[in-house]
């Protein structure tokens, strides 16, 4: 007797392996990292080695008290050594002719700040691995300090709001754009509200890593550090995309393409009002943030429309 198979929603069709993670993992309630990792292991499969550092993802990915919550082999190094350790691994596997998917999985503090040099170095050398940065806009695991990807105005424990303090004074470093400027085979931005987009980019990453370096920047709201409800992370992701605060795009060797366009972007205040770290911002400060979002997107749009002039 044959049972009629129920038609599954589309994103499940991309899963090629079972979830490599245990049922309960030690992330904060509502943290999108858990879903990101489960998807990652289901899409990329178990022939994956994870490389990472002390971070939010560390207890789950890189073990705690010699226990981990998954079955993937992993290499846990210092924040200064992620991209270089991954280089060591892939170079040796290449020497012995073994095809292995090595995935670096780190936060923005590692990728954009202390671990940036080896990241940029590995990209320039076009090493064959995938580097995924989950961007929660600060050092969340050590207690919500600002990083170079923390946006203008955000309150953190090192940019507190006080009598004179108004949150972070500088703008965020645009790391995915910087990585794309290395003209590596593949760079993309992704977030969990647009799951199919994310999965397609992961699959492309796995393919493109055979050509060289791959970088994926995953926008990852932090319920604890940002002051959002633990059931609202995906909603915040969606609003970040709808306001063009976090546009979804990809770049293949410096050729940019928007993978999702928003017909009428909402004002950035629709996004900031969901998040406590922006609550103190005045209209003028919010206007500056809006202006940053606009100019960032305009720049990206130019890049996506860019054609090599014939005269060149």
């Amino acid at each position: 007797m044959t049972q009629k198979k129920k038609k599954l929603p589309r994103v499940f069709e991309y899963f090629r392996d079972e979830d490599q993670f245990a049922g309960g993992v030690a992330f904060c309630a509502g943290c999108p990292l858990e879903l990101t990792l489960r998807i990652l292991s289901k899409v990329l499969g178990r022939e994956t080695i994870i490389v990472g550092t002390p971070s939010c993802s560390a207890p789950v990915l890189y073990g705690q008290n010699i226990g981990t919550w998954h079955r993937l082999p992993y290499y846990s190094c210092l924040m200064t050594g992620v991209a270089s350790s991954a280089t060591g691994l892939v170079r040796y596997y290449r020497k012995i002719g073994k095809d292995v998917t090595v995935v670096c999985f780190t936060g923005d503090g590692c990728a954009a700040d202390v671990g940036f040099q080896p990241l940029s170095g590995a990209a320039e050398r076009n090493e064959n691995f995938i580097y995924i940065c989950y961007d929660n806009e600060g050092y969340m695991n050590t207690g919500i300090q600002r990083s170079s990807t923390t946006p203008f105005g955000a309150a953190t424990t090192t940019t507190p709001v006080g009598v004179v303090g108004r949150g972070k004074e500088m703008s965020a470093k645009n790391l995915p754009l910087i990585m794309a400027m290395h003209r590596v085979p593949y760079v993309a931005t992704a977030t969990l509200s647009h799951m199919e987009d994310f999965i397609k980019k992961l699959l492309k990453a796995k393919e493109k890593k055979n050509e060289g370096f791959v970088y994926i920047h995953v926008f990852s709201p932090c319920p604890v550090g940002w002051g959002i409800e633990s059931d609202s992370a995906i909603q915040v992701c969606r609003m970040a995309v709808r306001t063009n605060y976090f546009p979804l795009w990809e770049a293949e060797r410096g050729r940019f393409r928007l993978t999702h366009t928003v017909a009428t972007p909402k004002p950035v205040t629709e996004y900031t009002k969901l998040i406590r770290k922006f609550r103190h911002l005045t209209e003028e400060e919010l206007a500056r943030l809006q202006e940053e979002v606009n100019s960032n997107f305009a720049f990206l749009h130019h890049l996506a429309e860019f054609e090599t002039p014939k005269a060149c």
Binding site: Y74, S85, G88
Partner: protein, 398 residues
Amino acid sequence: MKVRKGEIKVITGNAAAAYGAMLCRPDVVASYPVTPQTEVGEQLSRFHADGILDAEMVEVEGESSSMNITAAATLAGGRAFTATSSWGLMFMYDAMLQAAGFRAPVVMANANRETPGILAVSCGQQDMVSTRDSGWVLIVVENCQEILDSVIMAFRLAEDIEIQLPVMVNYDGFYLSYLAEAVEIPAREDVDQFLAPLKLQPERTKLVPERPLGCGTHGILVEFMELRYKHCAALERAKRKLDEIDQEFGEFFGRSYGGQIEEYRTEDAEIVVLASGSAAGTARMVIDTKRAEGLKVGLIKLRVFRPFPRERLTQALKGKKAIGVIDRSVCFGWNCGPIYMELRALSPDIGFVPMMSFIDGLANMDISIPHIERVIDEVYAASQGKSYQEVTWIPLEE
């Protein structure tokens, strides 16, 4: 078994390090240029370009990366080599500690150069001394031939299943890195054979896909203390292993260096000078001169700074009347030389005889023949019951 004679070439210390590494067929090589080591990386790249070296060459963007790359490559199961000096060594310090903690059998050549304060682009062992507590095996050598031979022996030691520790081969920057000497380069097949015993050992743990193995973990755990305990035990085992490998190397290639220490005319000596690096060669000459004059003086060349050769030194120095130590670096906070300070810790074992610290040769100051003569004269006077100065900064007190 004595193998065929190798080819003799006049090469620099840096080239000797590169030849030593190339002969051991590393899988991954990563190094960043820094004076006076740069030539090692250049030479290895040339070997690779000429098809002599079949390795993955990584032109890194900094030393921190060269250490992380080589450590990861060894933990994946490979053989890896890097080289650095001075600030480069300091820039990879975090990664060095991790490599040691991971028991990653990396072999690194380090051309000793000064580190702190003004930019002293010159020789000194301060860089190596600054990594004293990194958990690495720190070998110090005297001449270009010993550089080449020690790199080969370092792989045997590092990858030994009972050791599994990173090993640093230190040689005086400028004095040896740029000095060209006649060096016998062993045949490749002979080096293969010398390293072959490693293949007979149980396989090291390897990080490969589909095997749930983790390198590194977080948290507060009793296992951490156990790992530290085992690390210390491996360093202890490395002492005997150094002696054994050195002896085997001698039987194989006809050259040996004494293992942890080399004793020169110490047996009937009443006073002893302890030196390391290229200064040991000068000291040996001065010892001969003084011997000719009837002075019963001997030399100990320290070949390994970590693990500290406690037992061998005790055995060699017991019953001597006075000991002088020449250091090419300083021990901050103790106002003496670091090797001297370590030797003082052996006083209860050796006996409470006069021990004197001589600091010399910092930042390319020559540890000259007159300097060593002065060391011997002062140590001799102390052995005769004369009052003595514990610490002497030789060039400052001429």
